[in-house]
Every structure is written in structure tokens, then in C-alpha cells.
């Protein structure tokens, strides 16, 4: 963090900062007020988020987030590549839950092209989405605890996450950037070994989470750093566009898995954790409870999962298996056509949104009947959630800003696209 002079701040940002009313008049503002730069290289901002804080003593009067330090132009790139080629790029959006993004992209393209994945593939997708949710929330909880000074929790939750990454490694051969889904299914069937490990994981997860929670739930420092900090009411939260755990921490029971069911979520029995307080502590509790619900969902999915194909039978739109390409003429032709010219969905537009760990991840795709999308808009939850930050930090101390960012849980890869 560094103190800035007025000349060092861009005039437009300065204007946004000074627009907010404060009790201090302009004359003595130089005495008491200062503009503080936080980030983009700051360990507590969870990535390259830059905040400009206008302070009165140690109290935040106004906050202007500056985004774009990780802007890679994925929407422009999507317009210039085929639907298949974009799958690896979705991994890099919310890099804490790459599999959930893969599923979101696959569902959007399938809706546009009119393909339906076979049931087994959809059940596998539910398992990986929920595991991504657990992994992402574990990092969120650990990082939040670390931001307010409880270092051990971070190590313990990351230990749990490591087990999930190992399962992903068996499942699709990559720990982080998985690219596991395909249009019309998943890359390969889930091996019995991987499913056995999933079963092992969900059986031992809850005692371990309890252990982590025991460290902080009765810890007075942790509770007092978060209780009543960064409060936002349910109405304000909807108004500012919050989704996901942040919205449910404000007492609004809104979950896309329930509201507009996709995959087989309508067959699953699970609760939506909701807390009314709307402060950082409530957002933390929602995340912890949500991982328990995810465990419940995975358990049901493992019981119900049918045998069968994992790729849709639609040769003109779904890439054939590699082994078949080398031995069959027809498959070779289809592979050539799909790779070189794309899958050409019919002219039209769809908006497909799923409940990601961070909130609602939506893809708005416009097709002109070509192999690449005419327009791809990524509605990323982190960016919209960050918009609430100025509201949340107003009137709090500088040290609370760190806790509030941790409780919003933004991922800059997604916020900056």
C-alpha cells in the first residue's frame, strides 16, 4: 500500500472518489484525508485487483476498484475460434473451479446446437461440478481465515483441496486446467478407480471440515473481525447484482440449481443454505454449509449413476474418439470437418447460466451458422460481485477491507476475462 498524491491518480478515478459525500470540507481534506493505493500486487487482494481508497483517518469513505490488469480479451478470442477450441480457455476464467466452467460452456454450446449429452455424462458432470464447488469454497474459507490472521485453517483446507485435485488427476489427467468436458459429453468415462476415490473423499470430508471449523468458529478474533462487517441487505444485494453464496448470505434463497434446474439437479435432494445477517461471517457460513450440501449431492449421484455412453451420438457435431479416427474413414472425415470448420450451430442466440461456486456464470452466445460464435459474452460472477465492494467497505477500517474482499471471494481471472 502506498499513499498517492492527487496528481498520481487518473482524473476520472479521482472524480469518482471525490463524488462521495463526506463530513470533511475540501479545505482541511489534505489534513485528514488521503488516497491510498491498494494493489494490484497485494497478497490480500486475491489476484491483480487494484483498489483506490479515500480515507478519513483510518475509515474508508470511498473505494474505486480498478479492473483490467488480467484482461486477456477472451470474448474477442472466442469470436475467432471454434466452439471446441474455447474449452481450454474456460479453465482460465475461474481458475479455482475449472471443471465447473467447462460444464457451463458445454451446456451453453449444447443448448445452442441442440445436442443433449447422455445421462451418464450428465451425472459425471454433476460430480465434477460439485467437487469444483467444494474445492473453490475450501480455498475461499482458508484464504478468508488467513486474511484475518488464522493461518492454520488455510493449510488444513488446502490439504482437503489437494485430495480433490488428486481425484481430478485420475479422472482426466490434469490437476488444474482440466478441460474435461466435450460438446455432447465428457472426454472419457469416469474410471472405477476415480469413483472409488470420490467415495472415499466424501466419507472422510465432513469430519475434516468440522475440524477446520472448530479452529475458527469459536475463535473470538476470527468472529469479531467478521461479525457485523460489510453488511448488505437482501434487497441491496439483488439491486447490485450479487449472486451465489454472497447473495444467500443476505437472506435471499436464490440458487440457479433450484430456480432453473439444469443437468439432473431437479432429481437431487439438497438444501440451500441461507443466512440472514448479510455480513462477512454469514457469507463464510454459507460457503461452509454449501460444501456439506455438495457432499450430499455427490452421494446421491454416485447411487443413481447409470452405465452407458459418455458422448452423444451425433457424428456431425460431436468429435469422435481418437482411436476410431485412426481406423475408420467416416470418423476421420467427421473429425476433419469438425476441427477445420467447426460444428456450425443454427442461427440464433442463447443465454445459458449455471450456478458456479462464485455465483451465476452465464454465456451469451450468438451464432450466425458459422463454425465460430459471432458473439460470446461471459457473464462472470466475480466481476459483478466486486461491484458491491464500494458499498460494503464504506465506513469500515482499512483492515476490514481485507476481510471483506476475502468474504466476497473474487477470482480476478474471471472478473477480468
Amino acid at each position: 500500500m502506498e499513499k498517492l498524491t492527487k496528481e498520481e491518480v487518473h482524473p476520472k478515478i479521482l472524480q469518482a472518489l471525490l463524488k462521495v459525500d463526506s463530513d470533511i470540507s475540501v479545505e482541511d481534506s489534505l489534513e485528514n484525508e488521503m488516497i491510498l493505493n491498494m494493489g494490484p500486487q497485494h497478497p490480500a487482494t486475491h489476484g491483480v485487483l487494484r483498489l483506490l481508497l479515500r480515507l478519513d483517518g483510518e475509515t474508508v469513505i470511498a473505494c474505486v476498484p480498478e479492473l483490467g490488469y488480467l484482461h486477456r480479451g477472451y470474448e474477442k478470442m472466442a469470436e475467432n475460434m471454434s466452439y471446441y477450441e474455447f474449452i481450454p480457455h474456460t479453465d482460465r476464467l475461474d481458475y479455482l473451479s475449472p471443471l465447473a466452467n467447462n460444464v457451463a460452456w458445454a451446456l451453453a454450446v449444447e443448448k445452442l446446437a441442440g445436442i443433449e449429452a447422455p445421462p451418464r455424462a450428465q451425472y459425471i458432470r454433476m460430480i465434477i461440478t460439485e467437487m469444483a464447488r467444494i474445492a473453490s469454497h475450501l480455498v475461499a474459507i482458508g484464504a478468508l481465515a488467513m486474511d484475518v490472521g488464522a493461518l492454520t485453517v488455510f493449510l488444513w483446507t488446502l490439504r482437503e483441496r489437494e485430495k480433490i485435485l488428486d481425484i481430478w488427476d485420475i479422472l482426466c489427467g490434469a490437476r488444474f486446467t482440466n478441460s474435461y468436458t466435450r460438446i455432447g459429453g465428457v472426454a472419457n468415462d469416469a474410471q472405477p478407480e476415480a469413483l472409488a476415490k470420490v467415495k472415499w473423499f466424501i466419507d472422510q470430508y465432513e469430519p475434516n471440515l468440522d475440524e477446520c471449523e472448530r479452529l475458527i468458529n469459536t475463535n473470538r478474533i476470527f468472529i469479531e473481525r467478521l461479525d457485523g462487517v460489510g453488511v448488505i441487505s437482501g434487497e441491496d444485494a439483488i439491486e447490485i447484482g450479487l449472486t451465489g453464496p454472497n447473495l444467500r448470505g443476505s437472506g435471499v434463497e436464490f440458487d440457479l440449481r433450484r430456480a432453473t434446474p439444469y443437468l439432473f439437479y431437479n432429481e437431487m435432494d439438497f438444501n440451500i443454505p441461507v443466512y440472514k445477517e448479510g455480513d462477512c461471517l454469514a457469507r463464510y457460513f454459507v460457503r461452509a454449509d454449501e460444501t456439506r450440501e455438495s457432499i450430499k449431492i455427490i452421494r446421491q449421484v454416485l447411487d443413481k449413476m447409470p452405465q452407458g455412453e459418455t458422448l452423444a451420438n451425433s457424428p456431425k457435431k460431436v468429435l469422435p474418439k481418437k482411436t476410431e479416427i485412426y481406423s475408420k474413414m467416416e470418423e476421420l472425415i467427421h473429425d476433419f470437418m469438425i476441427v477445420n470448420f467447426g460444428i456450425n450451430p443454427p442461427v440464433g442466440e442463447v443465454y445459458s447460466a449455471v450456478e458456479n461456486p462464485k455465483g451465476e456464470l452465464g454465456f451469451y452466445l450468438v451464432s450466425k451458422g458459422e463454425g465460430h460464435p459471432w458473439k460470446c459474452k461471459i457473464r462472470s460472477p466475480s466481476m459483478v460481485n466486486l461491484q458491491a465492494l464500494p458499498m460494503l467497505v464504506k465506513g469500515h477500517m482499512v483492515s476490514d477491507v481485507v476481510a471483506i474482499i476475502g468474504s466476497i471471494d473474487p477470482v480476478m481471472g474471471e472478473a477480468d476475462k
Binding site: K12, G241, T243
Partner: protein
């Protein structure tokens, strides 16, 4: 189908003089209308007792490159009461700004949905569409000095060399 009929009935009752084009594609209802009506329509859809589209999910634009109305501004709104999503679309063309300059512009809806603030900033950054009466229309991602709007179809994928000056080394 139910939503389409409900929205058609509601909108034509409230705004008999406006021409609506309401389509239903893959269970997604889209309403197209002239751009000058965006604010009253958005206000009505948000505050109507039966509809209550309180959550604005997304604001973006589509560049059609060579078409007469070059851009379409697209809004996705969600009703937590009906658990359903609606798409609003308004075509815009180069027409006069309030201060007399020509350019792509549309009225801002950030006074109705606060969350539209950043979405509109992003659309302005990426497409160069001005949102009139927006409280703080700055660029979202690109630096303020950048002269182009990258998601326009005439902006090359590789970028424009020299358009993003690197910081000079101080001696």
C-alpha cells in the same frame, strides 16, 4: 410459452403505442423494441407486481458489422418471483447525442438496476456505445488512454501495434 403470453399481454396493455417484437427461441423469450423506450419498459418490468424482474444479470451489445443498425444492446433480466429470464433487445444506430455529436448511444438503465453500472461501463469500453445519463462512464478494462474499442468487428484480433504504449524507462 406461458411467459411469452404473459409478457406480451402485460407490455401491450401498458404501452399500447410501442411496437414490440416478442420471440421465443429454445424456451428463451426475447423482446425487441425501439431504443428510446428502454427506460420506461425497464422500469415497468422491474416494478410490476406480477413480473418483478428485479435482478439484472447482464448488459452487453452485439456488433453486426455491416448491418444498418450496427449494434444491438442486449439485457438479460431475471425474475426471482417467476424464476424465469427475459431478454430485452434494442437496435441502435449512429444518431445524435444530447450535446450534438453523432455516435452510438442509448439511455442508461443504471438508475433502475444499480448493477447495470459496471455492465454498461464494460459495454462502453468494448463497443464504444455511450450510455446517456450514466453516473460514471469510464472504461472498465482498457486504460483510459486507449483509443479503440476492442470487441468491435473492425478491431483486428492481433491488436493494433503501438496502441498500448509501454511505460518508458526512466533514466
Amino acid at each position: 410459452m406461458k411467459l411469452k403470453e404473459l409478457v406480451t399481454k402485460k407490455l401491450t396493455e401498458k404501452f399500447p403505442e410501442i411496437k414490440f417484437d416478442i420471440t421465443d427461441y429454445k424456451d428463451q423469450v426475447a423482446v425487441t423494441f425501439d431504443k428510446q423506450h428502454i427506460v420506461p419498459i425497464a422500469d415497468f418490468l422491474k416494478n410490476d407486481e406480477e413480473l418483478q424482474f428485479k435482478l439484472c444479470e447482464d448488459v452487453t451489445a452485439v456488433d453486426w458489422a455491416k448491418r444498418k443498425n450496427r449494434f444491438t444492446v442486449v439485457y438479460h433480466i431475471f425474475s426471482l418471483k417467476l424464476n424465469t429470464r427475459l431478454r430485452l433487445k434494442a437496435d441502435i444506430d449512429e444518431s445524435d447525442l444530447p450535446d450534438g455529436k453523432a455516435g452510438f448511444n442509448i439511455e442508461s438503465v443504471s438508475s433502475i438496476w444499480k448493477t447495470a453500472d459496471w455492465h454498461e461501463r464494460e459495454t462502453y469500453d468494448m463497443y464504444g456505445i455511450t450510455f446517456n445519463n450514466h453516473p460514471d462512464l469510464r472504461r472498465m478494462y482498457m486504460p483510459e488512454e486507449f483509443e479503440y474499442h476492442p470487441l468491435r468487428k473492425d478491431f483486428p484480433l492481433m491488436g493494433i501495434p503501438g496502441s498500448l504504449p509501454l511505460p518508458k524507462k526512466e533514466n
